[in-house]
Symmetry: C2
Subunit: 222 residues, 2 copies
Amino acid sequence: MRHFAEELEALKQALLEMGALVESSIHTSVQAFIQHDDRLARRVMEDEALVNKMELDLDARVTRLLALNQPVAGDLRLLVMCLKINTDLERMGDLAMSVAERAISLNKLNAPLGESLIDMPRMAAIVEDMLHRTLDAFVNRDADLASKILPTDDEVDSIRDGVYNQMIATMRRDPSLVDAAVHLMFIARNLERIADHTTNIAEDVIYLVRGVDVRHHAAEEI
Amino acid sequence: MRHFAEELEALKQALLEMGALVESSIHTSVQAFIQHDDRLARRVMEDEALVNKMELDLDARVTRLLALNQPVAGDLRLLVMCLKINTDLERMGDLAMSVAERAISLNKLNAPLGESLIDMPRMAAIVEDMLHRTLDAFVNRDADLASKILPTDDEVDSIRDGVYNQMIATMRRDPSLVDAAVHLMFIARNLERIADHTTNIAEDVIYLVRGVDVRHHAAEEI
């Protein structure tokens, strides 16, 4: 058996790999309807199955490490956080899959949404970047970086609100676009939920490093 | 300090209390627009703040128990599950609050949605019952009960799909109802997400009791 420190390092690497796969799923799920390519959507679905496997494997590894090494203080906190980050990443994979499913429906409808689509890759790019930086913050135990990520969640909320308003206006104007507009609203909602999960992870990183729980507090207090 | 067994019992009771509060929030959030009563919505918001506090408190208690008692096997699994159930309950509280926020918007719109509203209390009642039985299964370590809950998630999905279809038809027919219909769709989506979280907990209970991980597997295999 490897030393505990090596096991922890391997666990962090496994979480990073899972994070990279989720990041790529977010990107691909949005490209599936921007590029009008169902194959991209199906790739996200395959990757989601892989993310699910990774979740089960990671949970089992953390539980084994807790049982065999009975860690305390910082190491214990790290393992508890791994469980939470693992759950968040798996939910993000689910949400990317929901986007991919709606991408396939949107591609079938082939509705002239034009300009309204512009916000989606922008929103996805922000969310991918949030996730990437959050996982960097996690492996480098960088609480400053993690706290810089928190305000970005408001930016994502604001894009989502913009998409909602645009789509509501579209549906009022042209009832034939209702189905497509509903898909776009739910896609925006899913991307925003992904940002929420990233925020959860960033808060966990801050807790891990500083030992201060910032969940359910204003970001300004950090 | 209390004995470890007593601490575990107290922890289970605390999760049950949190679950009861979330259950009542689900009910109240839907009644807020059925009864056209903003005060009910505001009560859900107050309770959500309480649920958040309970989450932080429970996480801290579990981490302390892990550190001080270094449990193995079944007890370790129970504590890991408490962390996961805690996260699920808190997210369910968030979702109930989202329903309450939309209830306030719906009450302002005062749109003639009539019959379309019938499904919502029915959906909420099923979700509340799922949560109640899931937490019963948890405290009684009843894997059979937990596995009976899993198929109900499909019933909830099917009601949600019905609401989506009704609302899409409503928006196509009468563009003046677009705003209200969008609120109802998101409410249905939130209730369905609450059912998903309940399913997560039921799967955790099965794992806890049988040591078999049923996540990401068909319910039929159980």
